[in-house]
Symmetry: D2
Subunit: 353 residues, 4 copies
């Protein structure tokens, strides 16, 4: 069996490392090229010691022509804007791409530019690809992903929020304004040292940041939730940093509308919605998701609860931000794009504890 | 200067230890008696090694007569129900008491029994004291505390939630249904080992528990918030366990009502409301509370934000659950009951990092 | 291809859970039976939620006959003494066993009884099997493991200490008294709640325990180190609990004897010793092991350093206590016993960060 | 009572913040001037939010003349070399100084230059002050500190190592080569973000660094230990980073010499040695230090154990690196220099948990 030759562009960040970890477990692929900026020239084991003895590759600088010659498929794990340029160069050469940046997640160029544009770079670097890109959440867009050549892997927070609310949005049982209170591990901040991720600042406390519509994952949530609902949905999003490396726990609050329904009605809705999904488990009533139970895995745990006293719904989800929230889901998408078993290399259980 | 002689009843739990730590710093008191159940007979330094060389007292079994003979003032840091009996015995002997249990926080006996009653003990053990007890949140009830002989120190979650929302509730600028999403350190679970506080289970993840009106701090929040608002207020409360020892961060979500107001209006409201409060700091716009910044201190940090895009308010508070959320606030109440400077022994800054 | 049918006896502890996680990744085995004491009757997903959607088995009480009828191979992950009885019952029925308890690690019955005997149970429960059992450290005993029917998976601390010092012991370049200073994650304490593993006690500090020959892993280290050295080796062993779930870092201190050697001599010794070992990486000079870099993997990272100023050697090793220090190594042994590729299901890199 | 006017030079690092926290609790001092480099111009509450509402001072750039005009006493918490220049300028103006850098800890200029000299700055910036400076470990040099005008506060690792071994060194019961295996919280790395202190890199693992005589605290240990012993003592020092913010646990290994002594002999030696020391507690036999039990306090917990099987001694100490290991001890020294009660503002117990 010929293996699919894979290039990982942007291997020096945490999502890059997680891609390599998972791809090494994949029976049908071969990592042929890894590239990065400042880390170019180093052996991967000097950048990520966990690969010592397992992957003996030198990191190179990205060259589209070289990647196209060596590889059949590329993952791009680069900062936004930079990613769009690399993706464009690879798509020109007909390389299939899963992009892990934000560049192709938003369908509307203006929305992208409003949230991601900077003075230095106000315009999307490759807007012509926006219509081609598919939002890579298999639970919502499986068929489109299967036929896609360019997939935008969803953001970590949006993955957690969308999976939490999708069943309710689909049937229209809630008001279109939702509160998303998410707690993230610190790996979400990336590998560049900063005071905000400096151990003594953050190791033994918890804090919110970029609250009330400041976080760039907001429009992505609204785009996808609105699509599910078939109507405009808005979110008030509060991200937090919690002293752990991996994981996102999202509490999504919504107000019920329409007929009075029981906790059992909501529970059944969720179980039915996700019954064929291999990576999403709806927890039994009375159990709640815990990020420790999905750590290192591509799985999502979801619960739905009704606060009968006051008439509020609470959907909770737990994912690993680097896996189902990023690199694991990216590989799940690749599996779909290749027509393979969706779970190849990402079927494992969390390594708990 | 004669020192006030203090008894700490229930010294073996974490709130007991925190009381001892703070009382040792207090210039006007002397710890004369410490008691506990299973730990009776041991020296405090064998139960809490941090006191070795600082406090050389043996733990005894509680006897009301003995405490009344030796002490002028008692803190009770016992489990609920058990505490009410001890408090009753001490009040009969005219000892002033700050009780850290839930037994005297709720004014209505039926509400207490509905939330705390058990099959074995359906009835409040000392309902005759309910009318005498004052809810010990100085920022709301300072005058009443000054004249009280029995103060019920508030729960940790309610302290954080009430301080977050009090300004808005007071002026009636929000709907009377609030969402309280709180993240707590694990010391809130007490010192008795359990799977829910076992390091490997919770050390590197985050999870919600007792969501949607299952947690007993719910009625306490509603009682106090309704009193501030002068109208029925309901909360949907979601507590979480975060991998840290101390601290509570509360995100309180509310929907504005009435006239359209700007972020500056809300900011000013908060700054005015707390301007004379020594223990509450309203953070400048754009800054958000962090439990690390109040750890070990009796301080609360509060912020107020408006999500203008969607019309939602988010008030955030950070406290140390064992200090402002429990033992520190209890001592703040004692200072008031004694007519002393409110900040004696609890004036310190957080030990950050 | 027929799959090997596996029974996991003692699936409710952390080593049991880790066995299940790894076995689910194994292409040549099938988990047919899982048993435990108090957890019997429950579905595994209710005991370990990470398996929800992945493994749908009910936990049963152990019955040797039933296991022998259903399974070809058993892992025993039970407390010592209890394990020996189960192993004896399975060996009588000719089931191959890897035992993860301490019961068959020590060759000498008297040594076992001296360290593990209790007043209630002073005698080894199955001494007749001691001579049959092979110590399951593949790097030292690969051939014997390949031919074994009963393998005793090594303790976590001994694995780390032996791998750190084996090259030096083999060539006799050090004094036969070594200091072993090991730092362990808390999962090593097992899943039963205790004050010693209660989050608030241990979450934000570090401490030694059972120092100076009190820890039961001491004789196991000495047995194996003496065997390598061909002479009596003694260790002074200091275990620590560090606020993390997984991992052991061992600093092994030894004094050089004989000819003067350079740092390069020691480095070469280590690289040569481990050059054919797939699971042990000797780090380049100037790099030191980090438990985060082996977490969740069956790998060991080892370094050797010479303190030239004072004439001391320091060998450092990092492993995951639940994987290479326990369940991963147990599966590595099974692979050898079955004549398979040694790395089946345990070849993965650490999930770092 | 006139208060001593204090300047804190270098208030933006963690030791600076800890100085401010403790000085705010001090009844006889007043903080009049705080300075720093990049943080100059900011209010302290914007740099360290824990001081909001407690200390309303703007950070200024250091000017020796201004400090001399405003203050009576200065703490310097600056990087080495930079500190020496500031200290020299202040001493010229007859300001008493406690310096927290390494610049005045080593008596021998050559030793300093060998360990701290750089190509850019090979020479000690103020060697003329070396003979005046007193090493600020009160347990060893109390009388000298009382008469000093310039005190060099000891390093955190040396404080822990020296306190652990001083009794044994004093009586000469051990070989003069000791192994120091220390585990530190991450605040020891300072507040400047770096990969080595980036949460995801170190949050859930443990690792050694700068082993075998690479760490600059080595000569400081040897200087002081040799002075106690009255003979050359060498150490092989291994520092570690542990996932916690504060604390150092040191295991000091030594080989006994001379007459055979029992565990009780060693225990008595330690208890006698430290019997008059208010800040050092020798733990009872069978108990071992835990950094959590000294966190936030100026206390040291010390144990001594004999491994009778193999003839090794293990002394363990626990301190808070920022308090007894740095700023707390600096204030203890100031108290001595001023002729005050040594424990003013640093008498508190650890805030455990």
């Amino acid at each position: 069996m010929t293996k699919l030759r894979i290039a990982v562009v942007g291997c020096s960040g945490y999502t890059g490392a997680e891609l390599l970890r998972l791809l090494l477990l994949h029976p049908r692929v071969e990592i042929v090229s890894i590239s990065a900026g400042r880390a170019a020239g180093k052996n991967i084991a000097d950048v990520y010691p966990q690969f010592r003895g397992l992957l003996d590759l030198d990191i190179v600088e990205f060259e589209a022509g070289k990647v196209a010659a060596e590889a059949d498929f590329a993952f791009c794990a680069l900062p936004h804007a930079q990613s769009a340029r690399v993706v464009a160069a690879l798509r020109q050469r007909e390389i299939k791409v899963v992009d892990l940046s934000a560049d192709f997640r938003l369908h509307e160029q203006e929305v992208y530019e409003q949230w991601y544009g900077t003075e230095a770079e106000p315009i999307h670097p490759a807007p012509e690809l926006l219509s081609e890109a598919v939002y890579g959440l298999p639970e919502l867009h499986r068929a489109a992903i299967q036929g896609a050549s360019l997939v935008a892997a969803p953001g970590c927070y949006p993955t957690s929020a969308i999976l939490a609310l999708a069943p309710l949005l689909k049937v229209g049982w809630i008001e279109p304004l939702c509160i998303i209170d998410s707690k993230s591990g610190v790996s979400g901040a990336g590998r560049n040292p900063s005071l905000a991720a400096h151990f003594p600042e953050i190791g033994e406390g918890v804090r919110a940041y970029k609250v009330c519509g400041q976080h760039r994952h907001t429009p992505e949530m609204e785009q996808e939730m609105s699509a599910i609902a078939g109507a405009d949905v808005r979110v008030s999003f509060t991200p937090h940093l919690v002293p752990m490396s991996r994981g996102i726990l999202t509490c999504a609050y919504a107000r019920p509308v329409g007929a009075t329904r029981s906790a059992e009605d909501y529970q059944r809705l969720y179980e039915d919605f996700y019954q064929d999904e291999a990576f999403v488990s709806v927890l039994p009533a009375g159990k709640f998701p815990d990020t420790a139970h999905v750590r290192g895995s591509n799985r999502a745990h979801v619960s739905i609860s009704l606060d009968e006293r006051v008439g509020q719904l609470l959907a909770i989800s737990a994912i690993d931000n680097l896996c189902k929230g990023s690199s694991g889901q990216a590989i799940q998408c690749m599996n779909l794009m290749q027509g393979w078993d969706e779970s190849l290399s990402v079927s494992g259980a969390a390594s708990f504890p």
